[in-house]
């Protein structure tokens, strides 16, 4: 502002300040995006907030009760197991494939692209129905193993994009040939050269998959249900039992999502990996 006043030339106002219509639109956007979230945070520490504009008092009681809920630790543990197992399987299945297609099998690229867009075209309920119908025999039927297979499919695009971007950004061909000319085999090239070089992409993908699976409700509730209760299932259960405790659960869930997003940003800025858009919702 001071700069514009000191200069004798006319400086277009929009270069310094956004126009009125921009402020209005962005203000509306912020209002829509933030009010539900902030309200939930406040609600979770409010003693009573249904008669007054501001809460009548503040308390941490609902967090106490959330942590004391009989299933809290078990569901948190189950969610962690599911998310970490999915990240692991996803890495094992997708990273070598992306590398292979990029360096040795360019002909499979269109097929890979189709297989990666496919999960967006299949509603999660339909995937659940299909899997439950086919795998109706033990030990797979309605088991956590079947669930891991389902969520790996469902979260595949989130792993694929950052990894594919990272591989495209490095000279994988030259690196592979250099490694091979020095006598390294495919596994050594992958583990010693390629993976260290695309690590930021792998980390971004892993974090995205982790966050997506940690919040996953549909596949979990329809494939395994109460046998393997995860955190989102507990949350939905409590929306019907106690709203205050449910808001504490929601806050925990929102906070994890924010933290993972910040981590992804941090990883992305370290490795300058192209930003990936996450386009899947539940």
């Amino acid at each position: 502002m001071a700069k514009s006043r000191s200069t004798p030339f006319h400086v277009p106002n929009k270069k310094i300040r956004p126009a009125g219509w921009q402020v209005f639109l962005v203000g509306f956007f912020l209002f829509y995006m933030l009010v539900p979230i902030i309200s939930t945070y406040v609600f979770s520490v409010a003693t009573r907030w249904d008669r007054t504009i501001l809460p009548e008092g503040y308390t941490l009681e609902f967090y106490q009760r959330a942590f004391d809920a009989s299933y809290f630790t078990i569901t948190l543990r189950n969610s962690l197991i599911l998310s970490l197992a999915t990240v692991l399987v996803s890495l094992l299945v997708i990273v070598p494939t992306v590398y292979w297609v990029h360096t040795r099998l360019a002909g499979a690229k269109p097929l890979l692209d189709i297989l990666m867009i496919l999960p967006f075209g299949i509603p999660t309920v339909v995937l659940a129905l299909a899997l439950v119908q086919v795998y109706n025999f033990s030990p797979l039927a309605r088991s956590p193993f079947l669930l891991i297979g389902a969520v790996v499919i469902y979260s595949m695009p989130f792993m694929y994009r950052p990894v594919a971007n990272a591989i495209q950004a490095i000279d994988a061909h030259v690196m592979t040939e250099a490694g091979q000319s020095l006598g390294a085999n495919v596994f050594q090239v992958l583990s010693k050269i390629i993976i260290p070089n695309i690590l930021p992409g792998i980390l971004s993908g892993s974090l995205l998959v982790f966050a997506t699976v940690f919040a996953e409700y549909t596949l979990t509730s329809l494939i395994v249900g109460a046998r393997f209760k995860t955190f989102p299932l507990l949350l939905v259960e409590f929306t019907r039992i106690n709203g205050n405790v449910a808001s504490a659960f929601s806050v925990i869930s929102f906070t994890i999502a924010w933290l993972v997003s910040i981590l992804i940003l941090w990883v992305g800025s370290k490795g300058q990996v192209a930003k990936t858009k996450a386009i899947r919702t539940g």
């Binding site: 921009q22 962005v26 009010v35 297979g149 929102f254 919702t281």
Partner: protein
């Protein structure tokens, strides 16, 4: 040395490297979907081919589910596309880069805030005793209820637009970069005003991105389950909710009708994702030049 043709198509050995991934997709996605398709055409007791399950979809409950799902997805896709485009334009021309980046990050995070926590956040602000409901009542003496309810169709629209808006913002931002500054300048120097520029150049360039956004938003809403399940439950029938009830065995319905319903929704989703892909390929035309 490999010949160029071999390099392109790959040796049989090279395809073996692709096999584990392909097998995984076949096992947990493609084969089960094929079985689903087959099951939807098979009579359960006689194992004969039948289209009866699809004819059964004409029952009011199922017809209404499809109508409600299409109405909800279509409305929130249109609202999301229009408002999201304007918000995207405002963000694209925002002077401060830090603010721009912060808003893009916010969109990235919030578009994934679907499901139960989001649904519950909307109950907190717009439920019977919600914060905004109370605010309207006390300051404007206006009761949102019973005309509006977060547990109804109108409530679902608000909750769905929440994740549609930021998704549209993310999809449309690259498209604005495709409208070159020089075009606007040359149009101006040829005597075109702002309206003419947008009508003749801006919007035609944006159209593939707008269509891509609309179809992806539609598919995004059509396949959504957790948000609706948390908010409306049995008060409103949607395709995904109905299929969910059938899997959970909460309703005494023929499983085969559920399969027909699932195939019907796959068809609708496949159509919108197909248009999305075609439109996305069109957008590359402008970003390349």
């Amino acid at each position: 040395m490999k010949s160029s043709l071999q390099r392109k198509t790959g040796h049989t050995v090279d395809w073996l490297g692709f096999a584990p991934f392909l097998l995984f997709c076949l096992a947990f996605e493609i084969v089960p979907i094929i079985f689903l398709l087959r099951g939807s055409f098979i009579e359960k007791t006689t194992h004969q081919f039948t289209i009866q399950h699809y004819l059964d979809l004409q029952r009011p409950l199922y017809i209404n589910s499809f109508i409600n799902s299409i109405k909800l997805s279509g409305l929130t896709a249109i609202i999301g596309m229009i408002i999201g485009t304007f918000i995207g334009y405002a963000i694209y021309h925002w002077p401060s880069e830090r603010v721009r980046e912060a808003l893009i990050t916010l969109s990235d995070v919030t578009t994934n805030f679907a499901g139960a926590p989001l649904a519950f956040a909307f109950v907190v602000i717009l439920g019977m005793n919600g914060v905004i409901t109370q605010f309207m009542l006390q300051y404007f003496n206006y009761d949102l209820y019973p005309k509006f309810s977060i547990y109804s169709f109108s409530g679902l629209i608000l909750a769905y637009v929440y994740f549609q808006l930021p998704l549209m913002v993310l999809l449309i931002l690259p498209a604005f970069a495709g409208i070159k500054k020089e075009w606007q300048e040359s149009a101006q120097s040829l005597g075109a005003d702002t309206l003419q520029f947008w009508w003749r150049i801006g919007i035609p360039v944006l159209i593939p991105s707008l269509i891509a956004g609309l179809t992806l938003l539609f598919a995004n809403a059509f396949g959504a389950y957790a948000t609706a399940y948390t908010l409306v439950q049995a008060k409103l029938s949607l395709v995904t909710l109905q299929i969910g009830y059938m899997i959970a065995g909460e309703v005494r319905q023929d499983q085969a009708v559920g399969m027909a319903m699932a195939i019907g929704s796959l068809f609708i989703m496949g159509l919108s994702i197909g248009i999305y892909q075609a439109a996305t390929l069109r957008t590359r035309r402008w970003s390349k030049s």
